[in-house]
Symmetry: C2
């Protein structure tokens, strides 16, 4: 791959602060949800994705991409959520060979119950720590990153 | 918890862009490392933490906090890394009841081999997509988040 372009000092500061704070933040949000509602952060995130989708269902492949997961990992996760009554798998109405994940009433109820805990955590540990200008930089930068990754098909 | 302070439209944009792009970015970096060096992103991150630590070892509890992991999850991960020859557990020289994780020569070799792949990914999918001003906003915001979480003891 030729000469490696190592990160400069300010680039490394940005990368390191982002990655360290993100890992810690996710762990904190996870613990708050698990303690108050016995749900993991990743299960909560699946419920949010399904709730926002048309007809509250998503193809497994599309959900895996949105969750930054793989089809195999997501498949295990949805199987566990199915047992817990939070989601269910069904044939894709638009493609008989495909499979979708659907939100169940149990998943909807949990989401409604847990949302206040999650939003308070997101505020206290991230949003309320930023100025409106900083918030808009984050929105802009990460939308750009998302479009870039979308363009790569990942 | 009283009235729930739901996110405003610009706050939601910042949060959603950040969380979606972060999940995708981590998945992309993971796939690049796994394809080229057969190592997961989280194992790679443990190796980076150990390499930067004094004497290339860290207490398990401290490593768990830095990784945004739990002691139990980290313990399983280090056990797998021990089998793969990338790290080893040892009694803490400063506290006989404590346990540290140490970098092994195998872990060091893998880190050296995989670092160029990782840094190219970090550049291509994040750092090179930002202006220097945006990089400094990220560094500032996420250092603040990290200090906040540190202050909470998490």
């Amino acid at each position: 791959m030729g000469e490696v372009r190592w990160l400069s000092e300010p680039e490394m500061s940005a990368w390191r602060a982002y990655i360290v704070a993100t890992l810690r933040l996710r762990q904190r949000l996870h613990r708050e949800l698990a303690a108050a509602h016995d749900v993991s952060l990743t299960d909560y995130e699946v419920l949010v994705c399904l709730e926002m989708a048309p007809d509250r269902r998503m193809r497994m492949s599309e959900l895996a991409t949105t969750m930054g997961s793989t089809k195999s990992r997501l498949s295990h996760q949805i199987a566990r959520m199915e047992v817990a009554g939070l989601a269910r798998r069904a044939p894709d109405p638009e493609d008989k060979r495909g499979v979708v994940a659907e939100l169940t009433p149990g998943g909807e109820a949990l989401l409604k119950e847990a949302a206040p805990t999650h939003v308070e955590g997101v505020r206290a540990h991230l949003i309320d720590l930023m100025t409106p200008e900083e918030q808009s930089v984050l929105a802009r930068v990460f939308s750009r990153v998302d479009e870039h990754l979308e363009g790569l098909g990942s």
